[in-house]
């Protein structure tokens, strides 16, 4: 019987040096995928390779441990690392465990930053490669499609991914709560800090209309402004330009405040109290924190933002428990579907076998009855069909019956042995048909 196997390593089991060596670059992934499924033990395969994890998921044709061994050999051969060296870093999951693992990974419950949104996209990419190089068939196709819908459920039904857990996302979220729409807003960058630039990029993609950049060295302001398609401002003209800025990101190396409370009050008066949001990423700080007391002015320093993130992370942890429940329920659903996949071919084979017997016997009987008479032929045929259906009804019903905790594999094996059905049914080869199906249906 075939089973799902996942072999891999992640940020918890392997240091970055090992993860780097095992990574699959995008330009050679097609070759690797083909090499994977060419192995005799492996029927379908997908490779997920991100900076935090490398995982190979396969549908093993025979015994699952053989599949796992084959994948380990594949990893060792592809990257030229000895099996012994690899073993300490690898984990492997089979069957139910494997299903649960992929669902958790896609839902970002296994991520370094719980709930981070990138992983789902990376899993989708991995699926995309496998689909492109035709290394998946109906089982893994359904498996991954299901994983995506589980991830979506977790995202919409829990708050695991709801609140910002990075400084720049937190800044954007705050800006949205202050200004509502960011579309007609102007941001100003004072000084050049990596974190400020990142936040500025997030603000731009959140819709901020324009970016002003100022720096003690005007050339650097010009250069940075070029990157953001913004406007450079001379540092000594900072105060006169401040009135245009709704959001101010600051990270200069100045040893004292570059904006005092009085400065801010003055600018706000000129702006007729239109709100201003200061994000002070500098240490020591650039903006007098007392300015936060002014109506319509909000000043956050780096500690404030970090506190926000910490609270949000704690909340994510609480929500993770609910997400795990969703995953468990979906694992049960998928296993039920998987069982049905074992049962269906057995039923088909059972039917085919008896049909063959019936057809042969009917042909023999008709030959013995002599010259062909349409009526006789019809009667004999319907007699045989009716016996066949009545005999097959109980075993097929038993196979289809959905009983919790029942070991379908054993039942299927018994049926196969009793009726002498072939042991190795070849699952249908990877086809585009199967992939098209996925749009049609969730697993019930």
């Amino acid at each position: 019987m075939s089973s799902i196997v996942i072999v891999g390593l992640n940020h918890r089991t392997a240091p970055v040096e090992i993860r780097e060596r095992l990574a699959f670059p995008a330009d050679t992934i097609g070759h690797s995928l083909r090499g994977l499924v060419e192995r005799e033990e492996i029927v379908e395969g997908i490779i997920l390779s991100t900076c935090n994890r490398v995982e190979v998921c396969v549908l093993a044709g025979g015994e699952s441990y053989k599949g796992a061994t084959a994948v380990k050999e594949f990893l060792s051969a592809t990257h030229g690392i000895a099996r012994d060296e690899l073993n300490g870093y690898l984990y492997h999951y089979e069957g139910e465990e494997a299903v649960k693992h992929l669902f958790r990974v896609s839902s970002s419950l296994d991520s370094m930053v719980l709930g981070e949104p990138q992983i789902l996209g990376q899993v989708k990419d991995a699926y995309g490669y496998a689909a492109e190089f035709r290394t998946i068939g109906p089982i893994l196709d359904k498996f991954y499609t299901k994983a995506f819908s589980v991830a979506k459920r977790v995202r919409t039904e829990t708050k695991v991914a709801s609140s910002a857990v990075s400084v720049s996302y937190a800044a954007v979220e705050l800006a949205k709560k202050i200004f509502g729409n960011l579309k007609d807003k102007t941001a100003m960058l004072i000084g050049a800090g990596e974190m400020c630039e990142l936040a500025a990029r997030h603000l731009l993609s959140a819709g901020v209309k324009r970016i002003l950049v100022t720096n003690r060295t005007f050339e650097r302001a010009v250069k940075l402004a070029g990157e953001f398609d913004g406007m450079p401002v001379r540092f000594d003209e900072l105060l006169s330009h401040l009135k245009m800025a709704d959001i101010i990101l600051s990270s200069t190396g100045a040893p004292h405040f570059i904006l005092k409370k009085e400065d801010v009050e003055e600018v706000l008066r000129i702006r007729k109290n239109r709100p201003m949001f200061f994000i002070d990423m500098a240490v020591p700080r650039d903006i007098d924190p007392d300015a936060n007391q002014i109506d319509n002015v909000y000043v956050y320093d780096i500690d404030d933002l970090n506190n926000v993130i910490e609270t949000n992370l704690e909340e994510r942890q609480k929500e993770a428990a609910r997400a795990e429940e969703i995953v468990s329920a979906e694992v049960r659903n998928f296993l039920r579907w998987l069982e049905a996949q074992q049962v269906t071919p057995t039923i088909v084979m059972l039917r085919r076998k008896f049909e063959e017997v019936k057809n042969a016997e009917v042909a023999k009987a008709i030959a013995m009855l002599g010259p062909e008479d349409p009526k006789t032929k019809k009667v004999v045929e319907s007699l045989a069909t009716s016996i066949l259906n009545k005999v097959l009804h109980p075993p097929i019903t038993a196979l289809k019956k959905d009983v919790d905790g029942r070991d379908v594999t054993e039942l299927v094996a018994t049926v196969r042995e009793l009726f002498d059905l072939p042991e190795n049914d070849e699952p249908s080869p990877p086809s585009t048909e199967a992939r098209k199906e996925k749009e049609g249906g969730e697993i019930e």
């Binding site: 709560k177 109290n273 909000y298 609270t311």
Partner: protein
Amino acid sequence: MHIVLLKVTTLFYLVGALLYLYYIVTLKEKGAKLGRMILVVGVVLHAVGFVARYVAAGYTPITNLFESLSFFAMAIVAVFLVTELRYNLRILGSFIAPLGFVFSIFSAFQSGEVARLAPALDSYWLPIHVMLLFIGDAVFAVAFGAGIMYLLQEKEVKRKRMGAIFKRLPSLDVLDEINYKCLTVGFPLLTLGIITGSIWAEYAWGSYWSWDPKETWSLITWFLYAALLHGRLTVGWRGRKAAILAIIGFCAVLFTFLGVNLLLPGLHSYSSLSG
């Protein structure tokens, strides 16, 4: 029949308000959607009841305290529904719907019997004057709700916590905009209400203005909102200051309506409890 309708309406407002409260606690969209549906049905029933009472009485039924409160509740719910539609701001319902319900409770106490209209009220000016003012007051009620939401949210942002309130309440910007829009709609209504009242007073009492307590308090209310509008337009009052003024303004509205009726006797005493 009208009294039954009005009592049923109160029940609808109660359920609607509870659903909106359920929504703000659980953030389940279904609560707000169902709440809105129920409020829409409630306000339609309310309007039917209002018309039925009008037909039965032969005059616009806003002549005593209970009738006025009932009409006020209808106006608040209606104005809220329009605002919610305009800004797609469900959470506003958690603040305004309970207010509508509280005012409509009183309609349940009103008599099914229709009293004879006091001769002084028998005028075309009655519906114009009173309805203008109550619709204006309902708009101010929405500004009041938005003002409270603004203060809560502003406190949250200033305190630098992104907790339950931060997530549930909308942006400061949209709350401030509601404050302004309500002012630009409510203030003209209030002004027209006072002017029509004054004209009617000239006909009925022989004087445009007699400093009766209700008139005095209307004028105080009018000055409060005038100050807010002026501050907004000239020196850029907004945010916290505007929210606080909208809250104080609505308190003045309530005092002009209820406080004066119950505490200060005067020419407008039709709508005191005894009247």
